[in-house]
């Protein structure tokens, strides 16, 4: 690298041309940065807005994109309903104001989710955070809510990983528990099929995989099942042959899985290629969505079972408009020509809870909002929500099975509902071979 002779201190003066060049550059940089600055130079005091702003980190892109897919459709729809007659009455503003939402993409990354949550709280100064969709989104955002003392409403992420980050004061969560809900539903479905009760575990090394495998390994022996656990694997693992060989050797007839959709696709296809066909295959997370199921190809999806947290057949109604789960799904299909997905109901419910709490709080004061959320006692699109002392509320869980559909390539039947008989079954569970 060649070096230019250092001009400074060489005795001569800097030529005017050089100085002009330098100062122009300096001024130019200053001007350029001031273009970007107006974004930051906003008054530091809380802006007097005439609307309520909800912060909404959402996995719009990334491996969790299917969860985030129905946003912003659902968000806009439910907000329109809330804002229909002017919105929520806020004491400090002396009138009814609408709710607006700021949605930001977490890219399915927990790190990004945390950064976005910080931004929303610190820069956009939201009044309330509403967020969902797996521990990778919910955990970091709830941590940020706790740190910045921001009230938060979260759903759609299993309880155990969320509780790990507790105790919580500001965030309120609603969903089901692995130990108390998944285990009875899964083992309940298995009871209907005659098997040798040997269960193979296929779970990733993410929060879900780690907590689910721990729970199942603890409870299965007591229920007469033998668990075969060959270890966790990282996302995007390409070759599952050592797992499959192990299961064949142990004569596994029930496959229990929890992975991201693409990993399950790889694994399931390899199972078929290697001639491993269990009688039952119950998959958490990876086969929740029709798109993931279709991506398996061929008839690989037939008979896969999964947890079901919301369907058009759920007998719940909106607390805002009174229409049913089915009506919501039909509106979705009509508007987007796509098949319904489970998160739709939960996204809707999140806003129901928010609107209800804000109405009772009648204020933008964070502590008042927080207490209002804590007192929630509401029938929503996903069931009854009432938070307990640890800030969570359990929602109902049933079991489902994918079958060839009439209207769509694959449809989900509810095949197990013993804990929640008010949610009707729509089909009978069958063995895959």
């Amino acid at each position: 690298m060649d070096k230019k002779c250092n001009q400074e201190g060489s005795g001569g003066s800097i030529s005017r041309r050089d100085f002009m060049k330098k100062s122009t550059l300096a001024v130019g940089t200053a001007m350029a940065s001031s273009l970007a600055l107006p974004q930051f130079v906003r008054p530091a005091r809380a802006s007097k807005r005439d609307y309520i702003l909800i912060g909404r980190p959402n996995p719009t892109t990334g491996p969790l994109a299917s969860f985030g897919e129905a946003t912003p459709w659902v968000d806009n729809k439910v907000l329109a309903e809330i804002n229909k007659d002017g919105g929520i009455y806020i004491k400090e503003l002396g009138k009814k104001v609408p709710i607006k939402v700021k949605i930001m993409d977490t890219e399915s990354s927990p790190t990004k989710a945390g950064e976005i949550a910080s931004r929303l709280i610190v820069r956009d100064k939201v009044d309330l955070m509403v967020f969902f969709h797996t521990p990778d989104t919910v955990n970091p955002v709830s941590a940020m809510c706790e740190r910045h003392k921001m009230p938060g409403i979260s759903l759609d992420s299993p309880l155990e990983p969320w509780l790990d980050g507790g105790p919580y004061h500001w965030d309120f969560h609603a969903f089901w528990s692995v130990e108390k809900d998944i285990v009875p539903v899964y083992t309940g479905m298995w009871k209907d099929i005659k098997t040798n009760k040997v269960v193979g575990i296929l779970m990733a090394n993410d929060p879900d995989g780690v907590s689910w495998s721990a729970v199942f390994k603890k409870v299965l022996p007591g229920m007469g099942y033998r668990a075969v656990d060959l270890g966790r694997f990282p996302y995007f693992n390409k070759d599952f042959s050592s797992f499959i060989n192990g299961w064949k050797k142990e004569k596994v007839e029930i496959l229990l899985a929890n992975t991201i959709p693409p990993d399950f696709t790889t694994a399931w296809r390899q199972c078929r290629r290697m001639g491993f066909t269990p009688k039952v295959c119950t998959v958490g997370k990876a086969v929740l969505f029709p798109s993931a199921v279709e991506a398996l190809g061929g008839d690989l999806a037939n008979g896969l079972t999964s947890e079901v947290w919301w369907t058009p057949y759920h007998p719940f109604k909106s607390s805002l408009t009174g229409y049913s789960a089915k009506a919501l799904c039909d509106a979705w299909t009509k508007s987007t020509s796509k098949q319904w997905t489970q998160p739709i109901g939960y996204k809707y419910a999140g806003y129901e809870i928010a609107a209800d709490a804000l109405r009772r709080a009648g204020s933008l004061d964070k502590e008042t909002i927080r207490r209002a959320i804590a007192d929630t006692d509401l029938d929503t699109m996903v069931g009854h929500i009432k938070y307990n002392k640890q800030n969570y509320s359990r929602t109902p869980l049933v079991g489902g099975q994918w079958v060839k559909g009439h209207k769509y390539p694959w449809e989900l039947n509810i095949v197990y509902n013993k804990e929640h008989p008010n949610i009707p079954t729509t089909g009978k569970m069958f063995a895959m071979r």
């Binding site: 491996p63 270890g231 966790r232 693992n237 042959s241 693409p262 290629r273 001639g275 061929g298």
Partner: protein, 287 residues
């Protein structure tokens, strides 16, 4: 025991795929002395191109070879002509950083256009298997990958040894100045070489797209595999690339079998690191 044999068999087949992934990189490093950090991403680009052709024309992935491979040639030619040729020189960093920049641009471009959803080039071969004996299975797709992969490498070998262009390329790489003195347009040759490298990347991309799922950021994984094969097998040797492919694939599969499935990639990397430290020119490479 059969499990072991099965894994070894899988490893050999997978090794063929790994080798064809790496051959493009090996060509560029050996001939143009360019380490193309964007090779993995360019490969994935071709997977997406195949996807596009498949949905436009409703064909299956094998037909898409006809469209994608020539397209990749042109892409490679232009990338070399307009980007890399400009920065080839004595210093190592500029071409490396350009390649890096290209990788970043490709990944984010693919992300914007195709969204991060996982894709796959669907083919019925994906689940077919040929049973061998009582408990061995020969996954048809792996076999196809292997045959095509080895075929490509052999074709390339013949090309460089026999054809005029191949010899010109080798001349340019052996002695850049000498070749130029003889009137050979070395920069043009390099672009041609890149085009060929990209054709192999195109083949590899389609094979990978059929065998595994891909996303916009799957590129770097395959880049590492490519490096692994090149480093283990050694530069400038077709046999080396094939053997390197087998060794890497085998290390991964056997590692998974004996240490644990989650450690699959890890074992591959460890082998790579050891080779790098102990014999950096690779098994078949010239010191």
């Amino acid at each position: 025991m059969e499990i072991l044999v099965q894994q070894v068999l899988n490893g050999i087949l997978l090794g063929g795929l790994y080798a064809v992934i790496a051959i493009g990189m090996s060509t560029m490093i050996g001939i143009v002395k360019l380490i193309n950090l964007a090779h993995g991403d360019l490969m994935i680009l071709s997977s997406y191109l195949s996807l596009v052709f498949m949905s436009w024309l409703g064909i299956n992935p094998f037909w898409s070879f006809l469209a994608v491979v020539p397209a990749m040639f042109f892409i490679g030619y232009f990338v070399q002509a307009f980007l890399f040729n400009r920065v080839l020189g004595k210093e190592m960093e500029p071409p490396l950083l350009v390649a890096f920049g290209l990788s970043v641009i490709l990944q984010n471009f693919l992300l914007l256009v195709f969204t991060p959803d996982a894709r796959s080039l669907m083919t019925d071969l994906a689940v077919m298997t040929i049973p061998l004996g009582k408990s061995l299975n020969l996954p048809v797709l792996y076999l196809v990958d292997f045959l095509i992969g080895v075929g490509v490498i052999l074709a390339l070998h013949v090309f460089f040894k026999r054809s005029y262009m191949g010899r010109a390329i080798r001349a340019a790489s052996d002695d850049d100045q000498g070749a130029r003195l003889m009137g050979v347009n070395t920069k043009g040759i390099y672009s041609y070489a890149m085009g060929i490298s990209m054709m192999t990347a195109g083949v590899a991309g389609i094979l990978v797209g059929m065998t595994f799922t891909f996303y916009p950021h799957t590129g770097p994984q395959y880049l590492i595999i490519g490096f692994g094969v090149v480093i283990i097998g050694g530069l400038g040797s077709m046999i080396g690339t094939l053997i390197g492919g087998f060794i890497l694939a085998e290390a991964q599969l056997l590692g998974a079998q004996f240490v644990g499935p989650g450690y699959q990639l890890l074992i591959g990397y460890l082998v790579l690191l050891i080779v790098l430290a102990v014999r950096p020119q690779g098994i078949f490479g010239k010191a």
